[in-house]
Amino acid sequence: MKKNKSIMLLALAVIFITGAAFMQQIKITVKGSDTMVILSQRWAEIYMNKYPSASIQVTGGGSGVGLAALINGTTDIANSSRPIKTTEVEKIKARYNTLGVEIPCAKDGITIFLNESNKVKELTLKQLSDIYQAKITNWKQVGGDDAPIKLYGRENSSGTYAFFKDEVVRGDYAASCQTLPGTGAVVNAVKKDKNGIGYGGAAYASGVKHCMVKKDANSPGYLPTAETIAKNEYPISRYLYMYLKNKPTGELKKYIDWILSVDGQKIVTEVGYFPVK
């Protein structure tokens, strides 16, 4: 009798463990770009509603932080608002013997934020470069009031910081540029400072004025809209990426395929970015 009881208990334990294993949630971790946090969270929420067995955990920290986590093996997906650096690919090669997998998942136009009271409506890329290198320091030099320009930007772990530096500033940021954690913080700072200028992802812009950007003095100015970005007219547009260690398989592949599907790309538009397809 005692023996039968033990066998029954053992059988129950096996059934319980097997059942638990089958019922175990599929967990995907996503880390990186602060610009992509809102978008990534929306994808995760909607996907988890659709597939309750999936568990997707999204955190920010910046593109550099996400890619470092991918290399260390502490995240499955690294979100990045800039292309991966050669040094980061070298680290993936050394640890995983792959090149990593790059998936462009949305397009973004880096928006130039001005305070709503600012008279300036448009700036050229050269003027933006000069402003962020403190070669232009007063709004009157670009058609505004006689007032000092206050610079706001992102921290150096941010992909937006790196992209803006490489594509617009093309030099070192001025020491007077106040760095803030996240595009939301940049928008808030410009909202409160009538002499402020900031930059960041399009999805965060509310309560501030968008500045038109011109390639050069003779070109027309554009705002970042779906149309100008699709036509490559807006001069500061970029892809937003997801990076993986290996080619995705299983649940990870299913999730990424869904992000790139019509349903996933619809969310890109809802959040304020632009679809890749």
């Binding site: 260390n72 093996g73 502490t74 050669t86 090669k93 050394a94 640890r95 995983y96 013997n97 792959t98 090149l99 997998v101 790059e102 490489d166 070192d172 260690k245 290996n246 080619k247």
Partner: protein, 398 residues
């Protein structure tokens, strides 16, 4: 009525006086608070500036503790056949003064082997950020040398690289060009050329030149990456006495030999291939051949010139996130002009190393390694030398 008006004026005057006083007091208080706020602002700015300096300092490092078991072939009487020891214990201090300007200092604290591994400054050139100038003590530009010991998949580097680049580092200056739009890396170094880790200054006035070029071909859709490159070494070493033993082990003792220069010239070709197939897979190899020179101090230990050749091939397979299987075959002939009995002690070696890596987490890696060298046989070494080594290493990296 008049009295009432006078009284009202007096009250109004008093009230105005009071409100003027209150406004003055308020103004004073505001001024005081403003002063305090400014002082706080200054203190915050100072603290931010100090903290900013701290964030420019980066600390990294690793410790490799291992157990090794040796076959007895190369051991002397009563030598230990196994031992625990600290292979490397390094801390790397990096100070990023500004974008593209970096200072690096890396001592090694392993027991009985306190040494300075890296001490260099890097500066990206103004208006040309892809070009960096290194000055100080740094790795020689070669794939296996520059591939960090903390990442390498077997315990030690190949025999040919250990032989021609002892200690891996050199003292000198190096230009490195890595354009952002083209997947190439170009390196050009001017080096003392005789550094083994101990010499403060060069042993002669001639400087050695090293150049390396690597092109990276990536085929992302196929998950394939191929890095291919070549490096060349052109240097000379001064003979400190007249005795020079040539490629054929023949002694030349002409008086004018003393103070003359012996050539150190070699060329290497390298390839590293990466495949994303059922997890990561890599195949890496390099072939190096040329002539090398060695300083001597007497007739019995003359200066030597040798023609050498060597290569290595790694096969690495990642299994899941945590495991890695590795096989490396390497070959080194220190004197290709001589073989058999003529080679004397300059016999060639082949070696097979098998390894398993286990990554416990971000910081800890375990390695199990078995290296099986086999040697050319001649009258000096008529038997296979029993010099296999079994090693287990635990590496902690931060």
């Amino acid at each position: 009525m008049k009295k009432i008006l006078i009284s009202l004026f007096m009250i109004a005057g008093t009230l105005t006086g009071f409100s003027q006083n209150a406004a003055d007091t308020l103004q004073e208080k505001l001024g005081l608070l403003n002063g305090r706020l400014n002082a706080l602002d200054e203190r915050v700015a100072l603290a931010e500036s100090d903290l900013g300096k701290l964030t420019k300092i980066k600390l990294s490092g690793y410790i490799q503790a291992q157990f090794e078991s040796y076959q007895s072939g190369l051991l002397k009487t009563n030598d230990a056949e196994n031992s625990f020891y600290i292979r490397r214990a390094r801390i790397k201090f990096t100070y990023e003064a500004a974008d593209g300007i970096k200072f690096v200092l890396q001592p090694d604290f392993s027991t009985g082997n306190l040494s300075l591994k890296d001490a260099y400054a890097v500066a990206s050139l103004p208006k040309l950020s892809a070009l960096s100038l290194y000055a100080g003590q740094f790795n020689r530009p070669n794939y296996e040398v520059e591939y960090s010991s903390s990442q390498r998949e077997v315990l030690e580097r190949s025999r040919v690289v250990r032989s021609i680049y002892p200690g891996e580092r050199e003292v000198g200056a190096k230009l490195e060009f890595t354009p952002s739009k083209v997947p190439v890396k170009l390196q050009l170094a001017l080096l003392n050329g005789n550094f083994t880790g101990k010499e403060q200054k060069d042993a002669d006035s001639k400087k050695d030149i090293m150049a390396r070029a690597v092109y990276s071909l990536h085929i992302p859709n196929a998950g394939i990456g191929i890095d291919m490159g070549a490096h060349a070494y052109y240097g000379r070493m001064m003979a400190k006495n007249k005795y020079i033993s040539n490629y054929s082990n023949q002694m030349d003792s002409t008086d004018s030999n003393s103070g003359s220069y012996m050539d150190k010239q070699w060329f290497g070709g390298e390839i590293q291939m990466y495949f994303d197939f059922l997890g990561g897979t890599a195949l890496k190899g390099e072939y190096i051949a040329g002539k090398n020179a060695f300083a001597g101090d007497s007739k019995s230990n003359p200066n030597k010139i040798k023609q050498f050749a060597g290569y290595y091939i790694y096969f690495i397979k990642n299994i899941g996130k945590k495991n890695q299987l590795v096989a490396r075959y390497d070959y080194f002939d220190p004197n290709t002009k001589l073989s058999g009995d003529d080679a004397g002690k300059d016999i060639f070696y082949q070696s097979l190393a098998l390894a398993w890596q286990y990554y416990l987490n971000d910081f800890i890696r375990f390695s199990v390694n078995y290296e099986m060298p086999w040697n050319e046989k001649n009258s000096a070494y008529p038997e296979e030398i029993k010099d296999n080594v079994f090693g287990i290493r635990m590496q902690a990296k931060f």
